[in-house]
Symmetry: C2
C-alpha cells in the first residue's frame, strides 16, 4: 500500500508514540516521522531509535505534517493544541492517544482550524513500562484502537486514519465520545481504582505482614497488584479527567458491595450463591470471545517465595 | 521414604481430595487410600480413578485410618465430624482442607476424641474446576499449605503431617487460627468478593453492552472476571464462615475507596499520584518474591474478539 500519511508528526515520545513509530517503519506506512518531546534527552533517544527528525518545539514538528498524533498526558493536551494550531497544514488530520476522550475533545477541539480533521482516538494497548525506549512495533497487534469521531467528521478522513491503525495491526472501533468514556470507566478505570484501593488496604494492615501478603498473593490478590502496578501519572490524569463516569461506576460498585456485605452479615447464602453464579457467565463470554484462555490459573504458573 | 500414614481416608472426593490421592500414589506416600463421598456417582468415579476402596459412609471409611482428611465444604464439616468421631483409630490424625479455619475448629474440634490429633489445614491451591475427575498429582507443587495447629498439638504429629504435605510438593507454614483467617481475608477472600462485585456491576450496566464489556475486557476488567469465575458454593461458604475477618477488611476497603473517590471528586491529583506510587512497591515485592513475573501483561497474550 502507499503511505496513508507521507509525513507523520508525533508530539510526545513515550511508549505509545515510539511504538507507533516502530510499527510505521516496520510496515513502511509513512515517508517521514518527525517527533517532539519536552525533554532534550527524550528527543535524543527518539532521534537515535525511531524519528527521522526531532524538533525543539511542537509548532515546528507539525509543520507540513499530514498526520499529527498528540501522545502527551491528557493534562498537557490543551497547551499543545494551542501551540500547534496556527502551524497545522490545511487538510491534515490531528488525532490523540488519550485514555479519556471527553476531556481531550474539550481541551483540543476549540483550537483546531476548520480545515483540519480532528479525530480523537484511544489505543487500548500498553505495558507497565514507559518512555521512548519502551516502544515496540507489535504493541498494537490484535489490540483495540477506539476512535470517537465528532459530528461532521469526513468519512474519507476517518477511513484514512483507520487504514493506518489497521496497518499497524490494531482492530478499530468507532463510538460516541461520552459512550467511550463510560465503557472504559467500566472495563478499565474503575477496576484500576479498585485494585489500587485493595492493594492500599493490604499495605496498611499492620496485623498482616507485608511478607505474608507477598508470600500468599497467588490466592487472588496478585491479580490486583498486577493491575495496580500501572503508571501513577497516567492514572492520576485518567481519574481526574474521566471523573464523572468513574464516580458513577464507583457509586454503583459501592452500592453493590454494600448489598453483598449485608448478605454476608445476614448470612443470606442463597443470595450470595445466586450472585456468584451469575458473574460466571461473563467470564465464560470472555473466554468464548478469545479475550482469555480457559486454562485453569490460580497463580499456578508462579513459584512461591522461600526455599 | 516409608509411608508417613499407611492408610489414608479421604472424606469428600472433589478437586483437593482427588489431587491428594493422585499425589500420594505418584509418590508412594501411603499403602491404602479409602474414600467416601455422599454421591454414589462420585464414589464410582473415585474407585475407578484413585481410591483403593470407597465406603458408603464416612464412619466406615475412617475405620483403621492413620490419617483422615476432611475435604467437604466447610458447612458440612460438623455433621461429618460427629459421624466419624466414635470410629476414629486412637492415635490417628484428622486434618481438613477448608479455606477458613476458625469455623472448622469450632465445627470439628468438639467431636475429636482426646487420643486423636486434630490439625486443621488449608492448601492454597486450586483451579476453576471441581469434582472427582478434576484432580491431578501436581496441584500442590510449590503451593503453600497452611496448618493452624491448636494448643497442645504434639510436635511429632505435626511434623508427620508436614512430612506428607511436603512430599506432595507443597510448602508448609504454620500459623494461629485467627491470624490465618485474617491473612486469607486480605489476600484472597476480600479480593474475590470485590472482583465478584465489579463483574456484577458491569453485568448490570444497561448503557454498556455485554459484548462491549467482553470485547474490551483486556483493559483490566479481565483479571477481575478470572477471579470471579471460582466455584459459587465454595465461596458462599467462605464468606459466611469467615464473616468477621471479611467484613473487617471490606470495611477498611470501603473507607479507603471513599477517600480516593473524594480525592478524585476534589481533584486532588497529588494525593492520588502519591497513593498509586505506594501501591507499586507491593507489586515489586511480589515479583521479587517470585510470585509473578515482571513480563508486561496488559492482556497482550489474548486475542480480541471479531475478525
Amino acid at each position: 500500500m502507499s503511505a496513508p500519511y507521507p509525513r507523520v508528526a508525533l508530539i510526545g515520545l513515550g511508549l505509545i508514540a515510539s511504538s507507533m513509530a516502530h510499527a510505521m517503519r516496520a510496515g513502511g506506512l509513512c515517508d517521514e516521522i518527525v517527533g517532539h518531546a519536552k525533554s532534550a534527552e527524550t528527543r535524543a533517544i527518539a532521534r537515535d531509535l525511531f524519528c527521522d527528525r526531532v524538533c525543539e518545539t511542537a509548532a515546528e514538528a507539525v509543520q507540513g505534517a499530514d498526520l499529527v498524533v498528540l501522545a502527551v498526558p491528557v493534562g498537557a493536551m490543551a497547551a499543545i493544541a494551542a501551540e500547534i494550531a496556527p502551524h497545522l497544514k490545511p487538510g491534515c488530520t490531528v488525532t490523540d492517544v488519550g485514555s479519556v476522550k471527553g476531556a481531550v475533545v474539550q481541551a483540543v477541539g476549540p483550537h483546531i482550524p476548520a480545515d483540519v480533521h480532528f479525530i480523537p482516538g484511544h489505543p487500548m494497548a500498553g505495558t507497565e513500562y514507559s518512555g521512548p525506549r519502551s516502544g515496540f512495533a507489535t504493541l498494537f497487534q490484535n489490540r483495540w484502537w477506539l476512535l470517537t469521531p465528532l459530528d461532521g467528521t469526513e468519512p474519507a478522513a476517518l477511513a484514512r486514519l483507520e487504514g493506518l491503525l489497521k496497518a499497524m495491526g490494531a482492530q478499530v472501533d468507532a463510538m460516541d465520545v461520552a459512550h467511550h468514556d463510560l465503557v472504559v470507566a467500566v472495563v478499565s478505570h474503575a477496576p484500576h481504582l479498585i485494585a489500587y484501593t485493595m492493594v492500599g488496604v493490604a499495605d496498611h494492615m499492620r496485623r498482616v505482614s507485608q511478607s505474608e501478603i507477598i508470600k500468599y498473593s497467588a490466592a487472588g490478590f496478585r491479580d490486583f497488584t498486577r493491575i495496580a502496578a500501572s503508571d501513577p501519572t497516567m492514572w492520576r490524569d485518567v481519574f481526574l479527567t474521566n471523573k464523572e463516569a468513574v464516580l458513577d461506576i464507583l457509586g454503583r460498585f459501592t452500592e453493590e458491595l454494600f448489598m453483598l456485605q449485608r448478605q454476608i452479615r445476614m448470612g443470606d447464602g442463597d443470595a450470595l450463591h445466586a450472585y456468584f453464579t451469575r458473574t460466571r457467565a461473563i467470564r465464560r463470554g470472555i473466554i468464548e470471545a478469545g479475550q482469555d484462555t480457559a486454562a485453569p490459573d490460580f497463580g499456578r504458573g508462579a513459584k512461591p517465595a522461600g526455599d
